[in-house]
């Protein structure tokens, strides 16, 4: 029935026409809304869509010594990165890279996974690549699809001083730190971040802010070219740090230290500046920065001399006889006729059925306080502590800053230990510890633990008659355009109150240690500088005793306070004092 009549009603046709008009009005309205009303919003979005910001690394702040000599700056270094999407199905690329770099493909894949920032963004796999390898890769670039290299600034140690433990080093940032820093600073996987020492403490100041250049990319993230209509954001280099360290003094310390294990801290006792800081053995910062091989790391961590250990602020040692002036100070202030009090030293002291020896087996004979300090007589102080008591002794020790952090500007400081009644009760049980323990404490053995820095500070406070300046390694921080970011000028704080007479007495006794006829520290004597000191020997249950020599000079030209610790060095008088004598001569005569 081809001739069936068209019987459609008019209203149906009108309805469909109306529906058609409505649909087209909806479409036109929607396109108008998008393209006219919201044109600007989308135009911006479109621009952002095809522009990629490529980070330009900021160079870290330079570290100078107090005189403005460069200690650490930056040098260009080659970095090899891999674009994950491009090597995904190209095992030859990775194989080739693995051959050239002599690192397994698995290890490269692990590094890609670790530093991945997306399929199209280069993931760093090698840093500090020698130029020969780069030129080799250049030659074979056709077989190395997806492998790119770039130049980025790395730490460069230019001075001839070590200072390694104070400086610390940078490492590639890890996931934890990435999360921790998120928001504050724009860190990215593969970035260098201060890991130890000053590099860590002043990370925020040293880091700088990355810049960006803008390139046009397509939706696959492939680079098309530099954006011409958008100014790059220049990186802001990190601030420069001026240390309190005096390279001359530091060099003298390092030269004398040579290969022995120990620590030397020299402060300016009139303002808290750290003039020299050496923990030995030091570490090879060049090797630790960036990526260290598992073999090297293994060697470092299993080395019995523990080179990663910063002895200056982390090493806890029995303070030995260096603490004797502390007991003297209390007795002079609070005990009756302390100066006149004498005790006879017969080489040992009996307590119940135990005998406590003096370092001089034959005994010192009749001793007064001055002589007991000069000759470091233990028996005198065994007697004296009976009248002082542990609580009083601990109080004075804490006033001198023992058992507390000095607050120096490098991280991971240890605070040491000042035993008091509560501590002894907790450790040995109430009533279970005896006066025998007390005798150990007064000669700085057993439970008394202090860091070399604390002992240098102690010596400095005696020089300053109880006034303390917080020790610090950084004088000032300047931005690249010379703006002062930070200045360390610690306030004088009177920590230990004692009469002028008492201070005089103690200083004279310490003068006698170095300059007296029977002084234990005679080896540190210097003909042009008046040296005050105190020797100490820390008993070491694991081997040879550690040798201490602390002291100060009141000479305006050399306002030094110091602590010398030589591990397994034996007696303080025999080893540490002459050691410091050599340091001093180098400083003064050079």
């Amino acid at each position: 029935m081809l001739q069936g009549k068209n019987i459609v009603e008019g209203w149906r046709s009108l309805f469909i026409q109306g529906l058609l008009a409505l649909l087209f009005l909806i479409l036109a309205g929607r396109y108008y809304y998008l393209m006219i009303v919201f044109h600007e919003k989308y135009a911006e979005k479109a621009a952002a869509n095809h522009i990629r910001a490529v980070p330009v690394l900021a160079s870290r702040g330079v570290i100078y010594d107090r005189a403005g000599n460069t200690i650490v700056d930056n040098a260009p270094s080659y970095t090899i990165s891999v674009i994950p999407i491009e090597v995904k199905n190209k095992s030859e690329s990775l194989k080739r890279l693995s051959d050239v770099m002599e690192v397994s493909v698995e290890e490269i894949n692990r590094r890609i996974a670790k530093n991945r920032r997306g399929s199209f963004a280069p993931a760093k796999v090698f840093s500090r690549v020698p130029f020969e390898k780069i030129s080799h890769l250049q030659e074979h670039r056709l077989e190395l699809i997806g492998v790119t290299y770039s130049i980025e600034p790395i730490r460069n140690y230019v001075s001839n001083i070590d200072l390694s433990h104070a400086l610390g080093y940078t490492r590639e940032i890890n996931r934890d730190d990435l999360n921790r820093f998120s928001g504050e600073q724009d860190y990215q996987p593969g970035d260098q971040v201060g890991w130890k020492g000053l590099e860590k403490f002043y990370e925020a100041e040293l880091h700088g802010r990355r810049g960006f250049r803008y390139i046009e990319v397509n939706a696959l993230g492939q680079e098309i070219g530099e954006m011409t209509d958008r100014e790059p954001v220049n990186p802001v280099p990190g601030h420069d740090i001026y240390l309190t360290i005096d390279s001359k003094i530091q060099r003298a310390v390092e030269a004398v230290m040579a290969d022995s294990s120990g620590a030397v801290v020299i402060l300016n006792h009139s303002n808290g500046e750290v003039l020299a800081y050496q923990s030995s053995p030091g570490v090879d910062l060049e090797m630790l920065s960036g990526r260290i091989s598992a073999k090297d790391w293994n060697e470092l961590t299993t080395n019995p001399r523990n080179p990663l250990f910063d002895r200056g602020i982390q090493g806890l040692y029995p303070a030995g006889s260096t603490l004797k002036p502390l007991s003297a100070l209390f007795s002079l202030e609070y005990l009756s006729n302390a100066k006149e009090r004498t005790y006879r030293c017969r080489g040992s002291y009996r307590l119940g059925n135990r005998s406590f020896g003096c370092w001089k087996r034959g005994g010192h004979g009749q001793m007064n306080l001055h002589q007991a300090i000069e000759q470091s007589c233990n028996v005198y102080f065994y007697n004296l502590i009976q009248d002082i008591g542990i609580e009083n002794w601990a109080m004075v020790a804490r006033e001198f800053g023992f058992g507390e952090l000095t607050g120096i500007d490098i991280p991971r400081e240890n605070k040491g230990l000042v035993p008091d009644t509560r501590y002894m009760n907790r450790k040995y049980g109430e009533g279970k510890w005896t006066r025998g323990n007390l005798l150990n404490i007064v000669v700085g053995q057993g439970d008394v633990l202090a860091t070399p820095l604390q002992l240098a500070q102690f010596a400095g406070m005696i020089a300053q008659k109880g006034v303390q300046y917080q020790p610090h390694l950084v004088n000032k921080i300047l931005s690249k355009n010379g703006q002062l970011i930070l200045e360390n000028k610690p306030e004088a704080e009177l920590k230990v109150e004692a009469s002028e007479e008492t201070w005089q007495f103690i200083q004279e006794a310490m003068y006698a240690v170095v300059n007296g006829k029977k002084g234990t520290g005679k080896a540190a004597r210097h003909r042009n500088v008046e040296v005050y000191g105190k020797t100490g020997t820390a008993q070491n249950p694991h081997g040879e005793d550690h040798a201490w020599f602390i002291g100060f000079s009141l000479d305006k030209r050399y306002p030094y306070a110091w602590a010398v610790l030589l591990e397994n060095g034996g007696g303080g008088g025999g080893i540490a004092a002459p050691f410091f004598g050599r340091v001093l001569r180098r400083i003064i005569e050079e």
Partner: protein
């Protein structure tokens, strides 16, 4: 001699506006494809091939135009049956485990589901032309319903949701055109809306309320009403089950209709990128070959489904308006013709062709501005693609054929 007379007579009766509009639209598409190709500097040959398809399409326009109406009528059902068989081929030939919607002839693939759109329209036209049905009972609806559901089912398992919806749109429009009572039409569409409404509890209850009201005023037997209501409740209920059957990408596409930020790298990504490209085009566009969004490959399928974004970004709202106006003229013309032709067979074919085109245009243009789901429906005459260009040209040629009203009876 007679053939020549026939050809000339027929040509005199050709409604040239239909052909002109189709060619103008095809040229818009070629411009956009050329712009993409020039910018990319690729030798993919899209422009050349699309040009070839356009020329071939115009030839097929005339083939459809000159094909005897009688022949079309006589072979309508047979052609429909062949179409169904062709739909079965991709299902039975299972290459590499994946069902495909393509049949390959040499280097060229064609999609039987495309041509099925035309065959369905012709089949339904024959059915309604041959019977003076007013569709006053449900029984009268059974045949057209079955004729549509079979191909719908076959493309759904490919799976090609978009094409299945085209078939449904054809059916809905034609039965409305053929005179179905508004109440029945409402009840017929109701289940589909029930399934959509089931995604949101409140909407579902409101919709069920509306159905109750409509049923209350209807004059059907009580049990028919109950059955009708029950079906809607049931379909709404199993929607969640059916939802689980959909491929995740299909789910995602439907979901991204409601929130284009939901899946920035899936279907939502495409929409969000196309919005950006269009919005960036502004009133006048960035100029020919200057579209950064589309050309920097931010937009996948830019030459096929998302081709309007290229036009929008480069020629702005003005360019979009021109295309919209061309489409509107074409469709309004088809509907006017469908109303004014003498015979029902012709009328149904004309409205069917209009339905196919409206559905494609609205879904495609709505999709790239985020008001329709991303279903993979191309834009007639403009999107790159041979099968679809040929289908569209045949459709308009067929319409032009049917539009000749002063034919001797």
């Amino acid at each position: 001699m007679q053939i020549r007379t026939y050809l000339l007579d027929q040509l005199r009766d050709l409604d040239w506006t239909l052909l002109l509009l189709a060619i103008l639209l095809a040229l818009s598409g070629l411009t956009a494809i050329y712009s993409i190709e020039v910018q990319h500097g690729t030798s993919a040959g899209y422009f050349a091939r699309q040009s070839m398809w356009t020329v071939l399409g115009i030839a097929l326009f005339f083939t459809a135009f000159y094909t005897s109406r009688k022949v079309i009528h006589n072979f309508a059902y047979i052609a429909y049956a062949v179409g169904i068989l062709l739909l079965l081929i991709p299902i039975t030939i299972n290459r590499g485990g994946a069902v495909t919607r393509w049949i390959m002839i040499g280097n060229y693939g064609f999609q039987p589901s495309e041509f099925m759109k035309i065959l369905l329209v012709i089949g339904l036209a024959k059915y309604f032309g041959d019977h003076k049905r007013k569709l006053s009972t449900f029984k009268e609806l059974m045949t057209p319903l079955a004729m549509t559901l079979v191909p719908m089912f076959l493309v759904l398992i490919q799976p090609d949701l978009g094409t299945a919806l085209v078939y449904f749109a054809i059916l809905s429009t034609i039965i409305f055109w053929a005179g179905i009572r508004p109440l029945y039409f409402f009840l017929l569409l109701a289940p589909a809306i029930s399934m959509l409404a089931a995604f949101q509890t409140l909407t579902f209850f409101l919709w069920m309320g509306l159905i109750l009201v409509v049923l209350y005023f209807g004059n059907q037997p009580f049990w028919t009403k109950v059955l009708n209501f029950g079906i809607n409740i049931f379909l709404g209920g199993i929607t969640n089950v059916l939802w689980g059957v959909l491929k995740p990408y299909q789910q995602q596409r439907i979901l991204s209709l409601f929130n284009s930020d939901l899946d920035p790298l899936g279907a939502g990504y495409q929409v969000s990128q196309s919005l950006t490209a269009l919005g960036a085009g502004g009133p006048y566009g960035k100029g020919f070959g200057e579209g950064t969004q589309t050309h920097l490959k931010f937009l996948p399928e830019q030459h096929t489904d998302f081709i309007m974004t290229v036009i929008g970004e480069e020629f702005g709202f003005i360019g979009v308006s021109i295309v919209l106006v061309l489409f509107y003229f074409l469709l309004a013309k088809l509907i006017t013709l469908a109303y004014s032709v003498k015979f029902r067979f012709d009328s149904v074919i004309l409205i069917g062709v209009a339905a196919i085109l409206v559905f494609h245009i609205f879904i495609n243009l709505g999709m790239i501005v985020g008001i329709m789901p991303v279903t993979g429906i191309p834009l007639p005459f403009i999107s790159y693609g041979g099968s679809f260009m040929l289908t569209c040209m045949i459709l308009v040629g067929l319409a032009a054929n049917m539009a000749i009203i002063r034919r001797a009876v």
